[in-house]
Amino acid sequence: MNRRFFILLVLFLTGCATGMRTPGPYPQETPAPETQTAPAGPPAVVALLDDAERQARAGQYARAEEDLERALRIDPRNAGVWHRLARLRYAQGQYHQAIQLASKSNTLANDDRPLRARNWTLIADAHDRIGNPAKARAARDKAILD
């Protein structure tokens, strides 16, 4: 009984650790972004973001890109949309761009601390993927500070 519990505990803790560090094909955030943030923008932008999410989950990354770029034309200062584009790039394995786009999102995020934290986390993960552990650590620190 104790051993089973111990094994379960180890598995649980491992799950916690890896769940944060290695996002899957399309990084799922905890908690889900829809509940976390305020309305993402004008209705047109919301509609495009929804479709982008659908396309990305279906692996149709280029179509999701198109949606997000259209959203940016409508609302270019929407930090949330830039963040989504950064996440998409991450899912596409374009880590350098993911970092740039998340940085861009941060320049627009102002007082949205949860969003800034998510940006820094994404930047950190991307640096890990590229192989910049020092920069990843620095970014993670910023995520906590925010």
Partner: protein, 789 residues
């Protein structure tokens, strides 16, 4: 004598005798006949191969078609009803009260109802959609579907902006037989080939009828060629008119009919037929003919329009409706009459059609030269990824960032403002030239590009190719380099505008002067930039090092290699407006470099996605120096050389920009940006003689005309956490307080706020709340470091 001998000799005798008689002739004749027959058979086989090869191969090199951006409509978009209707007119939509078919719209009051055509975008097809737009003034208030439910967003089709033609300069828009209106086919057969479906390629009855018509008319009115023959003539043969050509044509027509069915031949004909000319661009096929004359797709045309197109076959220039409308009407009448003769249409339909005007669009809709400078730029960008022959022959569909409404507005602004400037200076009309580039800051998308004041002419593309000294427009690059080193330079740093002499090995000394021929002594860094002082900038640049400035220049996106001469610091380097746009785009985009782009995506001729040009950015300037530079460039507008702009724009927009005037007033430049848009304008003379215009009196005026057409948002520079504000004494650049007279508030990177000015009384109160937030310890040390600077 043996028998054989006898027979041989008899035969020989006979033969010898026959050679000089009828038998010789028949021998020769039979040999010749054999050779001739072999030759003819060989010839026919040769033609047969030629016919099949071409018909089955890639029949036509298809031009690349270049499209504008698609207009996206959503609530709160700044768009007037008139603007929407201009877009719809540009797409060839007809006004119709019912709005019951795709390609129609109607306006009633502040509501416009549209039935949009289906279209295949890069990310897939969009069905036809019927919707209404409610406006409040010049903004969209609400979008609604036909059913009444709210619509969040609708994307109209892009307009065809131009073509990249194959070597033969033939432009085409392929049509499938199924989509061609029956009326068109009926009209075509009535006029050109009534027995089309019955003959075998040549039509003796048709020839006979034609001859009869010619005889009774007393002149040549009809040929007897079938559609098949016409197709052969146009598709395969040169335009010689000899008997041998005619024979060849007839044989090939028979062969074509042998191998291919009527529908295939008809479809080829419909896409081959020559229907008009504009410049060196030949209009082939009814698909493009419809767009060219009526601005609408073929399947939307009505009887009178189709009849006109059919009528053009016999002589597109002779019956050109834009040049000879009376002839065109008569020809249309003849086609309608023939259609009645064969019962293709009723008398009643023809009566209705007869009353309608020609309906031709005013300009050659979708002319290849509608936006030549923009198209030229698109081609350059495409040539990086596609070979020229593919562009000219594969029928690619290119989707660009061009905003045709803005483009025309920019063209108008250039034309009108240049005329005004010329009048104001008693210059002959046409003296000045200009170039302009308008870009969306966050994406680098080029919305409009003007290569000269005569926008319709495909001439010298000044935006891309006019190399002019960049002049003062390089100064922000110098100042940015300085501001990136906050331990040495801040906006309050005192620069020395006293006379400067720079010795250069192998060249005469460089002695820069200011425009006002004055020297201004000690000036604040921000003032030196705002007022574009040359001497202090040159001195600053020398302190920084020319190579460092060049490094910044490249980091901002300029690709050009420039030599490391001091004169570079004042912009002695020649660049094009597009290059300037790339540099200022990085500034407008808050230090994120993004390549200028005119293409979003490319589809194949079959509407399959081929390529996409995604958004790609790179942060090349840290937020703090970027914020400082924004502030300085806003100061240029608030109080500096661009202060004329405050008369044209509300101060809340906080526009940023830089004027540029080169030696002897030869080049007038302005580059500036708002929250969302960046534009560069150059004004000058092609012969490089002085215009007398400064950046502010010339290019900046055009820039203002352009920007006033856009829905501008204020420039709100992101404020990084390590930025602080402080009151500064304008005389000494020291930290000030209320006791000082002439002060201004300036931003500083944390820890770089200068030492107190002598006028400041409250020296001990330096630890005020604003500064205490950051860097609690250590500011004392930094204070003394600044003091010693």
């Amino acid at each position: 004598m043996s028998k054989p001998k006898k027979s041989v000799s008899r035969k020989t005798r006979k033969k010898t005798k026959g050679r000089s008689g009828p038998s010789l002739m028949s021998f020769v004749f039979s040999r010749l006949a054999l050779i001739l027959l072999t030759a003819m058979v060989g010839y026919v086989v040769y033609l047969d191969i030629a016919v099949r090869n071409k018909f089955e191969g890639t029949r036509w090199p298809l031009p690349a078609h270049v499209y504008t951006r698609p207009l996206e409509v959503y609530a709160d978009l700044r768009l007037s009803p008139a603007q929407l209707m201009t877009e719809l007119d540009g797409l060839g939509y007809r006004q119709s009260a019912a709005v019951s078919a795709p390609g129609t719209y109607i306006r009633s009051g502040s509501r416009v109802t549209v039935f949009a055509r289906p279209f295949t975008f890069w990310d897939g097809p969009r069905d036809a959609i019927r919707f209404s737009v409610d406006f409040t003034g010049e903004r969209v208030r609400r979008l609604e579907l036909g059913s009444g439910s709210v619509l969040d967003l609708v994307r109209l089709e892009p307009q065809l902006a131009g073509s990249i033609l194959p070597d033969q300069h033939e432009d085409r828009s392929l049509v499938d037989l199924e989509t061609v209106p029956d009326t068109l086919i009926a009209g075509l057969l009535a006029v050109e080939d009534r027995n089309f479906y019955r003959h075998i390629g040549i039509d003796p009855r048709g020839i006979a009828r034609a001859m009869w018509a010619n005889v009774t008319a007393g002149r040549w009115v009809q040929g007897g060629s079938t559609l098949t023959q016409q197709l052969i003539k146009n598709f395969y043969l040169t335009s010689e008119r000899t008997i041998s050509r005619k024979l060849q044509e007839m044989i090939m027509a028979l062969l074509l009919e042998l191998h291919y069915d009527k529908d295939e031949i008809l479809e080829a004909y419909l896409n081959e037929v020559y229907l008009g000319q504009t410049g060196n661009r030949a209009i082939h096929g009814f698909g493009l003919g419809s767009l060219f004359y009526f601005g609408r797709p073929l399947k939307e045309l009505q009887l009178p329009e189709l009849a006109l197109l059919v009528g053009l076959i016999k002589g597109p220039s002779y019956y050109n409706p834009r040049v000879h409308p009376k002839r065109a009407l008569q020809r249309r009448e003849l086609v309608l009459t023939e259609m009645v003769e064969v019962n293709a249409v009723t008398e009643a339909e023809v009566r209705r059609a007869r009353d309608l005007p020609l309906g031709i669009t005013a300009r050659g809709s979708m002319t290849a030269s509608a936006y030549p400078a923009y198209l030229d730029f698109v081609r350059r960008q495409l040539s990086q990824d596609y070979r020229e022959e593919d562009l000219r022959s594969e029928g690619l569909r290119i989707f660009t960032t061009l905003d045709p409404y803005l483009q025309r507005g920019v063209e108008r602004a250039v034309t009108q403002r240049l005329a005004t400037l010329e009048r104001g200076r008693a210059m002959p009309s046409g003296t000045l030239e200009a170039a302009a580039v308008v870009v969306r800051s966050d994406s680098g998308e080029i919305l409009a590009l003007v290569g000269g004041r005569h926008a319709r002419l495909a001439g010298f593309n000044r935006a891309a190719d006019a190399l002019r000294p960049i002049g003062s427009l390089i100064k922000p690059v110098v100042y940015l380099t300085a501001l990136e080193d906050p331990s040495r330079y801040t906006l309050a740093t005192l620069l020395d505008d006293a006379p400067l002499r720079v010795q250069q090995r192998g060249s005469p000394d460089w002695v820069p002067t200011n425009y006002d021929q004055q020297f201004h002594g000690r000036v604040l860094l921000i003032d030196a930039l705002a007022h574009s002082y040359n001497v202090s900038t040159a001195r600053l640049g020398m302190q920084l090092g020319v190579s460092r400035v060049i490094e910044t220049f490249h980091r901002l996106g300029a690709r050009r290699e420039i030599p490391s001469f001091p004169s570079v610091l004042l912009g002695a380097t020649s660049v094009s407006p597009v290059e300037v746009a790339q540099i200022y785009l990085t500034l407008a985009n808050n230090g994120f470099r993004v390549p200028l782009r005119s293409i979003r995506s490319v589809l194949t001729q079959g509407q399959d996605p081929l390529a996409r040009y995604p958004l790609s950015i790179e942060q090349v300037i840290e937020p703090a120096p970027m914020a400082l530079l924004h502030f300085a460039l806003q100061e240029v507008v608030r109080r500096g050389t661009a202060r004329g702009l405050v008369q044209r724009f509300p101060a809340e927009l906080e526009l940023a920009g830089k004027t540029g005037t080169t030696d002897d007033f030869r080049d007038s430049w302005f580059a500036g940006y708002s929250g969302d848009y960046m534009a560069v304008v150059w004004v000058g003379r092609d012969d490089n003689t002085p215009t007398g215009l400064t950046g502010a009196s010339g290019a900046m005026q055009v820039w203002a005309d352009i920007m006033q057409q856009l829905d501008l948002h204020p420039l709100i520079a992101p404020r990084p956490d390590d930025l602080q504000e402080a009151l500064i004494d304008r005389q000494s650049g020291g930290y000030a307080d209320g006791a000082c007279g002439d002060t201004m508030r300036l931003p500083f990177v944390a820890g770089s706020i200068p030492a107190p000015a002598s006028c400041a009384r409250t020296v001990s109160k330096r630890s005020d709340p604003v500064r205490k937030q950051n860097n609690i310890g250590g500011w004392f040390k930094r204070l003394f470091k600044n003091f010693n600077e």
